[in-house]
Symmetry: C2
Subunit: 138 residues, 2 copies
Amino acid sequence: MSDNTTHDPILAAITFDANGLVPAIAQQHDTGEVLMMAWMNRESVAETLATGRVCYFSRSRGKLWRKGESSGQQQSLKELRLDCDGDTILLLVDQLGVACHTGRRDCFFRAARDGALVEIAQPLIDPDALYGHGHKHG
Amino acid sequence: MSDNTTHDPILAAITFDANGLVPAIAQQHDTGEVLMMAWMNRESVAETLATGRVCYFSRSRGKLWRKGESSGQQQSLKELRLDCDGDTILLLVDQLGVACHTGRRDCFFRAARDGALVEIAQPLIDPDALYGHGHKHG
């Protein structure tokens, strides 16, 4: 998907919030799994569309977050969709390995059952193997 | 799911933002379709868990938004999941009719293709039939 296409009409249709961010849902394109939700700014949307590799904006680190840059668990973009109000993005992706920094396939591994949260998935990869120590996301 | 279960441990695990809100993704439980993204406050999460009918918080109207209350297009809760950081909710639902105020099944009907947004789904229901005139969501 890397080419010289201008993505200005797409960027213009997105309503970024007061912080210049828009929530982005990542969904595995073929299975429908909802992998994670993160935030994008204008620059990260433009980069994602230009390169075909998903790039978010890390609110905690205050900078672009090229998913998988440190962990190797990249997301290839299959399609970017925008909702009716233009204020939420749905990314259809191909997730390499795991999406979650805990080593689980997706981030939504806690389910409310009988008034408590129950873990419904186990790590597939040791998080220390993903990042070494001291990192949270990547 | 309506019973006397206390949901305090679940509510305590959710990180609400500075406005007291948390983003909630609604996914059709059996097909995996991502239907919409909206916001919940503490009260709407508690009501949703207590009643089994999804209730959001409308930022534009500044009040609880019982999905389908005016449109009839209700969402029954199948399971509520929380992500690793506790700041995003995934609602597995059974969507009656359509999720989108435009009359489409889901809100993500615009896809980025070759630098432009293309509509990839058509309304299944006339929006005027959902709300009459003057309403946007419901």
